[in-house]
Symmetry: D4
Subunit: 219 residues, 8 copies
């Protein structure tokens, strides 16, 4: 009763409901997972799952896989395959956790993922020498903290949609990710959609919707 | 010299550079338009153009069309046609100006646009009775001021990407659009990308990139 | 001397003073409880009481009941019964703690409570399929974190006052509950009164005053 | 098409849709008023209507009454009468415009209104010498700018629900009404619901819902 | 060398330098205390001293007295006596720690202090029944968290200067004391000077300067 | 009825009620002035009075004096004389308007005022060469915009209370006076009380209360 | 008396005091200019001078030159010449006004200036094709509004100090220049010093100090 | 692959890439250090390294020196020597950690450093009696928390560039360093460049670029 699982979500929007672990007790998470399993959900996935909670849950939920950098727990996998891929870039090494949340989510939902880490604008040659990755991208997810300038530069070079993810990496006036968020919202490059701070999951869902649309229009 | 027009932008990103009128003198706008015309640009377009400035410019720039609600000035039109359409919704009547900026931009760039105005959540039946529009949408642009809740509800019903545009419509704690912006960034529905407050233009550019990708993948 | 207990509050406003545990030492809480007991208070209640403090207090204060999800400690119960009920809704599972603070407070003060959890707008069918609860409600308390859109939708459907409670559930740009607070204050639906972030207690007090007024006018 | 008038609102929530004039052209307002008239709406009302726009509209819409201090335009009146009254207090003289928006709205909707102006806490004897008004109140609307302390004091004395309306009256750190808003949200008195800054209309709607509930429960 | 103790401060401003413990290592605090002792300072005082640090320091610094509620450590006492007294009020019990920082500071500097705790505006009779304290006060320090309305009411009744101290007591939109700070800065009562959030020490210093001036003018 | 003039204020707090012109209509101001005149008030004073409103009022209210830099209108003068003086400093030339609001208020209330303009910290020798003014001051009012550092330096030199007034002079990150306000609240010098941004009037009222107390204690 | 001109500033810091026109009356500006002229100041300069005020002043102050884009008025010129030059870049055309304030200030103080306009990161090739300008720069001033990413990219390429100037160009979440300010403060490139929003003058002063130091160390 | 070390940075900008420890795992830091060592980097340096992480890393990375107050880990030293020195001042003792981050960084990069601690403006004589240090300075780094007024005063006295570093030292309205940051950005003294809150490292890098330029211009 504490949860009304949205079993129709996959039918309605293409992806099943995903359990947000924050603010839920382990026992609530377990009950929701079991309810989804009984319902025959092909993918049961939970985000922002701390390792010690994952261990507790694994005791009661068989076949739980845990991705520590992404802090994702999962059972199963969506089988549907799509044309096109999702290319994920980070500005720095410290942004990896958010980028991996996006990457693992996308892979669990059946998408091909390409990764390019640590190509922030302070050494622009790192990005320029990977220009082919941008040129060949379908959907781009660009993850950056601190000043968050990477999506602007990438969107100015890219021939496709860019999803910008601000991270809480930084200190002082980064204000927990507000600085890169504002940078991304004010970009003078076009073709950028922004998601919440540290929301790698949401970025993957949006990228997935874009590729699903492309595959649907195609057919 | 005051402007380095990005003539390669259409070749690089699919859309030509668009002139942002704010903070430019009429004479600067005219010079940039003339330079683009000499360069053979098929679409010369400027946003946030106040009517009185449009009148001044029209004296010197032949064939300028002016769209008053959208505050767009344009010469020419992109000829390329795309499969798929862009469906644009507003929560209220006062959001029309931003929504029209998105709609006209999209149409000038060659996209088909569907409009649905004033279906905000305070009377949810208005949205539910237009459910077929959401069900048949490809890319959705959802424009809302005040509390900005419409994109959340739409994204929960839609089977495709949603672009959310907060507007500065409201007063008091809407803080010039911050309230709907936060609502959209924190949406518990997925598949939403957010653009800057009142940025109808940017929403159209992102929707365009998504449909261009779909058309490219298709072929 | 560290506290001037407002023993007249029940006589003046219908409800006794309630002890806010935050920022008080256990010994201060115990002394206030004992003073209220000597004064013959039918309900001695304290909010935001952490479990380990509750254990300490229970050693010295007999008959203390503890409600862990609501973090309320109580002795006694108001006996007065009222016509009408308080219907409490949450957008998500993680909002339960705040919702239970409201529910237990209301029940301790003698009101009938109806609960409906996890009907947030991302899956609007969950709300629509519980429409009868809204239709039959007297006073509604709607609790939501993240984007906090639920009160707007509910108030657009409801035929009675709605009390909106923003919660600190969320991350990044939810800013500890500011995002849903702004959503609720800017609602384009009418008939909504807002209380402080996470203030389930205050929502119950307001709902109680509304029903007390109704019962008073009636007679 | 620019507006989907919510003709069911009165049936659903007890009050008809009200036209928010801000951000609408005079011609849009006139068309909505005419549509509502054709639909037989007993009360057609618009808020935040500047006097010069009211004059323009009056040329085309017969029988429009204009309330300059409240900036409300109206045709007709709700006939239903209710037991109980709405008592409206202001802290200062400069808050009158917001208070009158609440008062006129309430009166147009059929409620009895009592007014008490300029009883702010800097001279507490002004409030104390009007204690009988608080003692005899049913629903209280308390309007205050600057530091906005009046609702706290009133709610501590009142035996019924209090609706607090922060105003943008003040300067410097009042931040356009943020200071009194925060005061009202953080009140240590209970039984207070808060509405948006300068939202006299919303306060009246909430007060109306409360009295309607009381009248409904009664019968 | 890490500190240039301002040994002239007492001669210049009437009070010696006081050591702010936050951000200093215990060994730095000890060295500064010893330097002040060698210099013959009659009062060596440190604020914001956590109990465990106080214990460490007491091992090396003889005669250190520790005031746990105020978190002050002190050696010695200023001997000068002044006419007039400092009356300190709090709105709630949870504000005591800040109020005691003010009270102990004032007493160590030679001033007479009167205390009145927990007379917040939610039960205004508590304040009114202590009216004689306000009437007979010289300088008033009023300490309040949450909505911080007490200084406004007191300044409206008092015939002398009021020093307002916002505290970080509260939650949600109290924003760590910003809410009461804004209330105090925007007070429509006059004769109020505001200090930093939780700055009981600064309030006492200002009150002290006021009484010193009065004593100086007198002679 | 729109105003409850606080005729007891002078008896209660030493100074009569002062009319805040902002947000009042000229006719309201005139009526309040006339009511105070009939009541025999020795000083009728209004602040923040724009010159064109002053002209309007002067037509109906005889003997109104207008101080354009201070934007104060006044009739009469308090006759009581006090020992001690109020020394007012500004950091820059642009702060004069606020400083004059303080100076004229103080003089109308019977206090002696000393002025020292444009001694901001960017050229500290300007302050040091006026050291005797600080040394001989009783109460200091220090007015500063931009970074607002002057009160810190002055309070470090002064042997008496300092009232700090932040002004809205500046641009960009001065945020309408927030920058100097924060500077003043966080001062590491002691003995400072802060008032609202641009609140020269409030500073004078506080200075006046301090000197009144000194004169009272004396006798 | 309203101004204490800092005639020693040139001797102390290398540059004379500059008159900030905002918040000063024309007559005050004229008096300060005349005082500086009598004092034999080689350069009398005023910033943020609106054209209509410049016209008024020119009537009374002979030889006043006015630079409309930079909004600077000046008489005279510093004669000293320095080795090295100041290279000024802007991200967009709308940033020109701020950049010209920096350029004219620098030139009036005797520095050589190189200008490069409209090379923002949305078309990075524009910057890359001007790489030689960055490679040959001594001190760089980089001016950018909207997302303000240009200084990060430039500092990553440059072999010398970079002064970053955020501008108020933008809308919505640019918050009057806060977005580019945060970007610049959080830059992951090093060697950047930031000045206030729109402070072209301050950037030139800092660049000037850097080149003066270089010239001093050299000799 | 998690890091693209910018080995060209020293060649491009004069200083090697420095490892920011926050948000990196110890094993990532070790791998980057080893990669830099293999590349022959003369200085391998990491900032914001907590002592317990330093201990872990020292087990695997030989010759790591750890500077606890500055929280810097380093191997090697830049050998190049420069004319001129960097003078570093702090306002208080609690600012030492940030100041030492600047000092150690500068020394590791080959610069001469002069230190002056605890000369904040609350006791201005401390600064004035060290006037020769300011008079003889080349580049100044001024570090201050709380109100952050020191850089304004220093820049008004200094004949060279000033780099201002706000620190998070303070409480309440210092807002983690926002108060001193705003003070520094709004300084009415000129020649100041500001870096992020607590960014001693960035200040040293900027100071280094300034001295490198001076040395380059010289030759
Ligand atoms: N959870 C709560 N949130 C807000 N106010 C509360 C809460 N619990 C109790 N209160 C009120 O806060 C006041 C407690 O103040 P005190 O105990 O004097 O610090 C009481 O008057 C209660 O009415
Ligand atoms: N002054 C007001 N403040 C807040 N909401 C209002 C006000 N006046 C009307 N409304 C509501 O705002 C909505 C108007 O939306 P629309 O006219 O479609 O832009 C209506 O549903 C009204 O209930
Ligand atoms: N609790 C406090 N709040 C604000 N300022 C304080 C406090 N305690 C001491 N001070 C002042 O802060 C300064 C201490 O600075 P320092 O010890 O050099 O970091 C002294 O000049 C005191 O006057
Ligand atoms: N555009 C500007 N931005 C910031 N500071 C300025 C500007 N123009 C002049 N100043 C400085 O501001 C101070 C002027 O203060 P005042 O003229 O006394 O109000 C002078 O010391 C100048 O160095
Ligand atoms: Mg990196
Ligand atoms: Mg509508
Ligand atoms: Mg749920
Ligand atoms: Mg009044
Ligand atoms: Mg209490
Ligand atoms: Mg000046
Ligand atoms: Mg451009
Ligand atoms: Mg110190």
């Amino acid at each position: 009763d504490f949860a009304k699982i949205d079993h129709q979500r996959q039918w309605r929007t293409g992806f099943p409901e995903v359990i947000w672990s924050q603010g839920k007790t382990p026992s609530q998470i377990i009950k929701i997972m079991n309810a989804m399993r009984s319902h025959g959900s092909p993918l049961i996935m939970t985000t922002r799952l701390e390792p010690e909670i994952a261990d507790l849950i694994a005791l009661e939920v068989p076949n739980l896989r845990y991705y520590p950098m992404a802090k994702i727990g999962a059972i199963g996998q969506l089988e549907q395959k799509y044309q096109g891929k999702i290319s994920i870039l980070t500005a720095g090494t410290a942004d990896l956790s958010v980028a991996q949340e996006a990457a693992i989510t996308a892979e669990l939902c059946g998408f091909e993922v390409e990764r390019l880490w640590d190509v922030g604008v302070a050494g622009i040659h790192r990005l320029l020498s990977n220009r082919h990755i941008i040129d060949n991208a379908d959907v781009l997810i660009v993850v950056a903290g601190m000043e968050g300038a990477l999506p602007s530069v990438v969107a100015g070079m890219a021939n496709g949609p860019v999803i910008a993810v601000p991270t809480s990496i930084g200190y002082g006036t980064s204000f927990g990710g507000v600085a890169p968020l504002l940078t991304m919202l004010n970009s003078c490059a076009t073709g950028i959609g922004v998601v919440n701070i540290d929301n790698g999951f949401g970025a993957a869902m949006l990228a997935g919707q874009i590729l699903r649309l492309a595959n649907r229009l195609k057919s």
